[in-house]
Amino acid sequence: MLQLAAGNKMGPSASIVTVENLEKRFGHFTALSDVNLTVAAGEKIVLCGPSGSGKSTLIRCINHIEKHDAGRIVVDGVELTGRMEDINGVRREVGMVFQSFNLFPHLSVVENCMLAPMKVRGLSRAEAHERAIGLLRKVRIHDQANKYPGQLSGGQQQRVAIARALCMQPKIMLFDEPTSALDPEMVKEVLDTMVELAKDGMTMVCVTHEMGFAREIADRVVFMDRGCIVEEADPETFFRAPRTERARDFLGQIIH
């Protein structure tokens, strides 16, 4: 818990995530090069860019699901090197929501939410259950608490995944295209949940192409292409008057 204290000392406006000169390679292929990004507490960032531009790789590096090759990543005052204690310390504070939900199919909805708080945070079963039900209520799915993931719709599953991550009481939430695997009619219920979360003050980094969502909550839009951050701006500016040609091309493709 030392890291926690260190993180708090920096005060509320300190950055939660700092990425400096980040580089990531897969074999000979460079997926990220010279990426710099800071995320302040309470800030909401939308990451966008063409497929394959390295968005997922970047946010997966932030909680060390991918190991970076060069540069620095500091999360909540702890630099991610190879040390497992640091990594797990960081992961505890970072919630992640995947495109493909990745719920545990053999556990009921509420058990999905209780597992990590009990095993990692050391909560008792009763405490974990109470917290899980509370957060499931927040994402409006508490009436399905005893069902299994396979019995839910995609939108419901993704809301459970959000609640599962929130149960760890993370300081920051990472979303990797949380609505891309959903049927159109389910996208809204998930976005609404995310908007609510944003309004509660959660620090968020979202990979998404939902422009309405970006306009509504993003403090900053970060545009990536071919492994680099090409442009950063507030959403109004970015969508109205992108500075770079690549961003214009990209916006042209997703709007039509």
Binding site: F26, G27, I65, E66
Partner: protein, 264 residues
Amino acid sequence: MFAVLLEQTADGQRYIDWLVSGLGWTLALAFFGWWIAFAVGVVVGIGRTVQNRAVAALARLYVEIFRNIPVLVQMFLWYFVLPELLPTALGNAIKQIPPPWGSFFPALVCLGLYTAARIAEQVRAGIEALPKGQVEAASALGLSGYLTYRHVIVPQALRLIIPSLTSEVMGIYKNTSVALTIGLMELTAQARQISEATFQTFTAFGAATLVYLALALIAYQGMALIDRAVRIPGTGRAENAVEPTATRVAQQVGSLPDAMEVVK
């Protein structure tokens, strides 16, 4: 350590000759048994999937019986029990077959029919794993039921199940050793005999083990070769796919003992 194998036996041979003769019986049993098993297995497997209720039920009965009785008990049924149940003259004629053929033929029939039941289940699973559109497309082209099976379903299903047939090939050569219980002097029996004659148990069993390992390797490589030879271009199995380096969880799924689990 294997020097003892070159020593003279009481009957003027060398111990290694015993092993070679045992290997011969093992191979003969596995090879001919396999073709019986394959032929019967494909027919029964197809029978499991046809519309005709009576045929399907018969095929199912075959599989149930031959798969659910231990192969050793089946061995005894063919060897001890069958001659007693046949008309006396015929039964006696069977009992008169001179050794080792008197043991070889029952063992051959036993292993062939037992393995056939297992192959039939693989064939059925392979057929059921094919997309429904294949049958629909075939009938849309006006192919008869027979032609659909002959040219569309069976060729695809057999390719699909080659990995699981590998384990059946391995199964049949390992099961040849069960024939020693009815007196066939195959490889394992010879190894035991050498061990008893020389007290060099380690050497005797070690030699047999090495031979079985070599057979396993040959069977495995042979089936892999066949798999590659008959593969339909453009339908490579998953090993060609890009493997994520981040975790060790390969997408590729090897051959499960019950390989159809993989095919889904």
